[in-house]
């Protein structure tokens, strides 16, 4: 199926829901997903049999998978294939990860549901081997990979640290400590917002109970200051609350986390593309609202495309209203979660010169200060002269810190998205991958639905 009615990129809950909704309306759908299994970070290890027996399929995911199966041959899934770009003529370029070869797909419309990208806290040492993102560590734990270090420290801020710590404890490899810079479990008016999402509250309390039972210290208000050393022998420096004393923990591995942002770097904008292709975003890729909202968001994106095709089912308006209500509810819940985990990282003015901002191009806070003297240059200069947000990760890792730093200098927030544009390939793609496949539209073989 190389020219389906619709392409869906990303096979998490949002992408699968979008594919189902499109297929249910009679469209042929090609669902393109970069991992070896559908599901996204939360569900990808569910139902993979022996590999990770601890992950039981959730009811939500089981229902969605059954819905997809029920749609017969209308959804084709291509796994281990990543979106890399959309050219001006409407050719979607995708990379087959196993062959490292690029091929071309065509469709008049597409949904981008590429999920979220984790944010790095501004902590010197984050660039070292032995330090990884919490999500990276979570993939290892869920994948049943035994960790090569006994002492693991989780640090930064956000609900994922709590979830990961509990998952590790359950898997029999408790972290030494969780250093949570925020104070999520304090009594706070923002907490009332969570009453609307009792399932989140319940989940958080359950994780806390697991940590307590396994003796894992969950230290709120503990702000990681730096990481130093080598894999197996890392030193984690942190401050507890207002206490100025710097405390230390030994760690073999360190996982950092500081929230999530939409994984939309370099994607073509939503709406009508210059090539005539219609684009919609869905799920965390559009707005980080979590997995439950992602399903509603995927369906809404599909409905929007269907209505542009003039295929509006009689009950569409009612269903759209229901999904919009789900999104609003999760928007309020996420707002409450964000304020509960609100973290005061040190002001950018105090960041040390040696703090690496961009790891791809090896650019530090000192380098940024040098570019800034005496004035704050344009986003273009920041990129072309400063070489920030220009490297292989397309600014996914440094963009927020660079923007924070610039906003702090100027006294007004530096505009979001000013440093990352609509640029493809969304990932470095070797020229050879193109050459291997020159002209061979849709050369990659397709994988049957799982």
């Amino acid at each position: 199926m190389n020219s389906p009615d619709a392409l869906v990129f990303g096979g998490g809950p949002a992408g699968v829901a979008a594919a189902c909704e499109l297929a249910a309306a009679g469209c042929s759908v090609l669902l393109v997903h970069q991992d070896g299994a559908l599901g996204g970070p939360v569900h990808r290890h569910e139902g993979d049999g022996g590999a990770s027996p601890r992950v039981a399929p959730s009811r939500r995911w089981r229902r969605l998978a059954a819905e997809m199966d029920g749609l017969g041959g209308r959804i084709t899934v291509r796994l281990r294939t990543a979106f890399v770009g959309l050219d001006g003529e409407g050719k979607f370029l995708v990379r087959d990860m196993a062959r490292n070869a690029v091929s071309v797909l065509r469709a008049p419309r597409a949904v981008f549901a590429l999920g979220a990208v984790e944010q790095v806290p501004p902590v010197p040492g984050w660039q070292l081997p032995g330090v990884m993102m919490a999500g990276g560590l979570q993939l290892l734990v869920k994948g049943g990979v035994p960790l090569p270090a006994k002492r693991v420290v989780l640090a930064g801020s956000g609900p994922l640290l709590l979830a990961l710590a509990a998952q590790m404890a359950r898997a029999g490899h408790s972290p030494v400590a969780v250093l949570e810079a925020g104070r999520p479990f304090r009594v706070h008016p923002a907490g009332l917002g969570l009453l609307e999402g009792p399932e989140y509250l319940w989940e958080a309390l359950r994780y806390q109970a697991i940590l307590r039972a396994c003796g894992v210290p969950y230290r709120m208000g503990a702000r990681v200051v730096s990481v130093d050393g080598a894999p197996g022998a890392l030193d984690v420096a942190f401050r507890a609350g207002a206490d100025p004393t710097i405390q230390h923990l030994d760690a073999g591995l360190v996982a950092l986390h500081d929230g999530l942002a939409p994984n939309d770097h370099g994607l073509p904008r939503a709406g009508l593309h210059a090539s005539g292709v219609r684009i919609q975003y869905a799920g965390d890729c559009r707005e980080v609202l979590g997995g439950r909202a992602a399903i509603a968001g995927g369906r809404l994106a599909a409905l929007a495309l269907l209505s542009e095709m003039g295929r509006t089912a009689p009950d569409a308006a009612g269903r759209a209203a229901k999904w919009e209500r789900i999104l609003s509810r999760h928007r309020r819940i996420q707002r409450a979660v964000t304020s509960l985990f609100a973290t005061e990282w040190p002001a950018p003015a105090t960041w040390p010169d040696h703090l690496v901002l961009c790891r791809c191009e090896n650019r530090t806070v000192g380098d940024l200060r040098a570019v800034l003297d005496p004035r704050v240059p344009s986003p273009k200069e920041i990129k072309l002269v400063g070489r920030f947000c220009m490297g292989e990760c397309q600014g996914r890792l440094c963009e927020r810190s660079v923007r924070r730093f610039l906003g702090d200098r100027e006294g007004v927030p530096y505009p979001a998205k000013s440093l990352v544009g609509e640029r493809w390939p969304v990932r470095p793609t070797p020229i050879t991958a193109f050459l291997d496949d020159a002209g061979a539209e849709g050369a990659a073989s397709s994988v049957p639905p799982t």
Binding site: D35, G36, A98, P129, L139, R359, N362, T432
Partner: protein
């Protein structure tokens, strides 16, 4: 059928292949965390696990430079870490 477990090569040394693993997972199983020389003074390493950071790029014979965290490991693969091996 051979009784020896399947392996791939990491910088010339055999590492066990586990079905369904990516190159990065297989390396972590083998205790390999540092993936060799990276940009400037930085070392390559597994970090995000999801193709976002590009910190884990390795050179696979016949495939070229790929993300270790997204590329399925295959018995007999010849994988080298570090930029010095990848750049001309």
């Amino acid at each position: 059928m051979s009784a020896t477990p399947p392996t791939f090569l990491w910088n010339g040394l055999p590492v066990a292949v586990v079905d369904g693993d990516t190159i990065a997972m297989a390396l972590v199983r083998a205790g390999v965390i540092d993936l060799g020389a990276g940009v400037g003074t930085k070392r390559s390493r597994y970090f995000c696990g999801s193709g976002a950071c590009q910190n884990c790029v390795v050179e696979v014979k016949g495939l070229g430079r790929v993300e270790a965290c997204l590329t399925p490991v295959v018995a007999g693969m010849d994988v080298a870490g570090g930029r010095e091996n990848g750049d001309e």
